[in-house]
């Protein structure tokens, strides 16, 4: 019961009045920013990074935990009341939840989303508590070549296997890898692609890339194709509540959604989209009244929302135990760790146990806070959706500027921000997914380091990547992840 002892120690860290305050500020800010239309969880975390810049690491990460879960919560509110998903994982919630809201059942939709998120988040965090130390114990023994193969697997699954167009996903990934190459090579001290600019010797700050691609890119793109007229926001009277019958219809989907979401978050499979779709299909099949689906069935909100949040907890398993982000949001959390000079991975449990366990404990606390905040405050959040678009997007740009400028107090970085904003615009206009690029920037340098370490150990013998059984197995998975979807597509086309 090692994990429990560590967890109690973590609660001792997280339950100090000051850290509780940081957790509360985190969940409040996370929900606040997450509710704003056009800002998904990944951008929420990125924009709020400067807020934590001057905090000690433990407090900063406790606040991050709150921001992370809060951003997810806020996103579902927007989907239900506005019918505009902030990210692909909320598409289903927007579909079914907005239908419910239009029928005057917004309070029930919000409540089933909030309680479902709470249950999924808590179960997910429990699973994380017990899985993480066990995986960390095994992960200590993973060789550099296997680590490289694992990163390759994450690259391929995130960019090619689950996306719409593997070619565009891979291109996005490689552009990210190229951005990650800029700067001084750590092993040899050799400058690469710095174009003679001293500002580029340290490499390009990851936060600049994220905020440029997400926030500035989005602002430019929306401005170019602005929807005229007002989006219809559903009016909300009173807090979010559930009737007895709603409870009866929700608890099954909550648990099933959690069971689907958590494992999908924990493997590098491109985030929460797939489990939310799976959960929706499953609930429709199990439902006694499938005709309600698409017309505002409560199960169609409860299941996918739970899946979405369980997957958010699942994402933390590979992030904390292997240092492997499997979603854009996780990549930003990884960058936040690196800003503090911490490298998530199996060793972090040994070297900074108090920090990791304080973070895990604050996930439980944050979940309780979110439930307490969101049920009564739902009408307040709904108000935020009425902010006129010109003022909203202008505000996003100002906060983006603060976030990037405060990294190094450099106007040069703002120029880079504008450049990545234009690239982000192009990616939206020409249908390139943004997440693979983000993963490429963050994991590229790590992939290179493991690749080189592996070859140092084998004295330049490339066969090391196929001789070790575990590495070879992972490499086979990489191949399968590239080839199998293409074969399936080809056969489907043949059959059609």
């Amino acid at each position: 019961m090692d994990a429990l002892t560590s967890l109690f120690a973590g609660f001792e860290t997280a339950l100090t009045p000051l850290n509780l305050l940081w957790a509360l500020i985190g969940v409040t800010l996370g929900t606040l920013v997450g509710v704003l239309p056009g800002i998904g969880p990944a951008l929420t975390v990125a924009l709020l990074l400067p807020v934590t810049a001057k905090l000690p690491p433990v407090s900063a990460f406790i606040m991050f935990a709150g921001i992370y879960y809060g951003g997810m919560f806020g996103g579902s509110t927007t989907s239900i009341l506005l019918n505009t998903p902030g990210e692909s994982a909320s598409i289903i919630t927007a579909l079914e939840g907005n239908k419910m809201a239009r029928k005057g059942r917004a309070a029930a939709a919000l409540a089933t989303a909030a309680i479902g998120s709470f249950i999924a988040g808590t179960i997910g965090t429990l699973l994380l508590t017990f899985a993480a130390p066990a995986i960390a114990d095994i992960a200590v023994q993973i060789t550099p070549s296997a680590k490289f193969a694992l990163i390759m697997l994450a690259f391929v699954t995130i960019s090619a296997t689950f996306g719409g167009s593997p070619l565009r996903g891979l291109l996005s990934l490689f552009v990210g890898l190229a951005i990650g190459l800029v700067g001084t090579d750590l092993q040899s001290g050799q400058a690469r692609f710095a174009l003679g600019r001293p500002e580029l010797l340290d490499g390009i700050d990851f936060i600049t890339v994220v905020i440029g691609l997400f926030a500035i890119g989005e602002t430019l793109y929306v401005a170019s194709r602005l929807r005229k007229g007002k989006g219809s926001v559903i009016k909300l009277e009173g807090g979010a509540t559930l009737s007895k019958q709603d409870w009866r219809r929700s608890w099954g989907p909550w648990l099933r959604g959690t069971a689907l979401g958590f494992p999908f978050g924990a493997i590098p499979a491109g985030g929460a989209e797939i489990p939310t779709f799976l959960s929706y299909t499953l609930e429709k099949r199990l439902s006694k009244h499938p005709e309600e689906f698409g017309q505002g069935a409560i199960e169609g909100v409860a299941g996918p929302e739970a899946a979405n949040n369980a997957s958010a907890a699942g994402v933390l398993v590979p992030l904390l135990t292997l240092g492997l982000p499997t979603s854009a949001t996780a990549a930003i959390l990884l960058a936040a760790f690196q800003q503090y000079g911490l490298q998530p991975g199996p060793l972090l449990f040994l070297t900074n146990g108090d920090l990791v366990w304080g973070l895990i404990a604050s996930l439980y606390i944050g979940n309780v806070m979110l439930l307490a905040l969101n049920l009564p405050l739902a009408p307040v959040w709904a108000r935020l959706l009425l902010i006129p678009r010109p003022f909203l997007y202008a505000g996003i740009l100002v906060f983006s500027t603060v976030g990037v400028y405060s990294l190094n107090n450099s106007v040069f970085d703002l120029g880079l921000l504008a450049l990545f904003g234009v690239i982000g615009y192009g990616m939206r206009r020409f249908d390139f997914p943004v997440t693979p690029a983000i993963i490429g920037v963050v994991l590229g340098p790590t992939a290179e380091a493991q690749f080189r370490t592996a070859l140092q150990q084998s004295n330049g013998d490339f066969s090391i990547f196929v001789r070790q059984p575990f590495t070879a197995f992972l490499m086979l998975c990489v191949l399968a992840a590239l080839v199998v979807p293409q074969v399936l597509k080809f056969r489907a086309r043949r059959a059609a």
Binding site: L181, A223, R389, F451, R452
Partner: protein, 170 residues
């Protein structure tokens, strides 16, 4: 500045913007390849600082060529549907240009005029680009947002943002 949106089914043939993007990506790959070859091998390292950039640039070039081929065969990208966008509205490239212009101007005067003035310029230009025309209100809100942000981040969170010529007052 405005053009009707291309509807994929109605316009067969090669999409010029898509082709330009594909060629640009290929060119980027080639440029990186040329740049990689200038990186020295490194001394007494099995894998020097040069190997990985070579792999990335060759990969990028190959993928760029594949995309170019598929565009030449008639493939075209579907613009993304985001919140607050209308895919059937005419594309207005003037608005993003105003935003970028305002951003660059604000960033250029940031150190000299200070954070508040610089970001107020940015705020104003975005609001203008999004079709807001109540100039007095916009200027007021822009200054208020910039000022509150400045005070919150400098006094509240201890970041250092440039005060500019308002140094004595802020």
């Amino acid at each position: 500045m405005t053009q009707p949106p291309p509807t994929p089914s109605a316009r067969p043939g090669i999409s010029i913007p898509d082709l330009l993007v594909a060629l640009a990506l290929t060119a980027l790959g080639v440029a990186l390849f040329i740049g990689s070859r200038e990186i020295p091998f490194g001394i007494n390292a099995v894998v020097g600082p040069r190997v990985f950039p070579l792999i990335v640039s060759v990969g990028l070039t190959a993928l760029g060529v594949l995309l170019t081929v598929s565009v030449l065969r008639g493939d075209r990208a579907e613009p993304a549907a985001e919140e607050d966008t209308d895919l059937n509205a005419p594309v207005n490239l003037g608005a993003p240009a105003i935003i970028l212009g305002g951003f660059v101007l604000g960033a250029a005067v940031l150190t000299w005029a200070g954070f508040v003035i610089g970001t107020a310029i940015m705020y104003f230009s975005v609001a203008w680009a999004f079709g807001e025309r109540r100039v007095g209100l916009m200027a007021g809100v822009a200054l208020a947002v910039a000022l509150v942000t400045y005070v919150a981040f400098t006094r509240g969170l201890g970041l250092s943002l440039p005060p500019g010529f308002l140094k004595g007052i802020l």
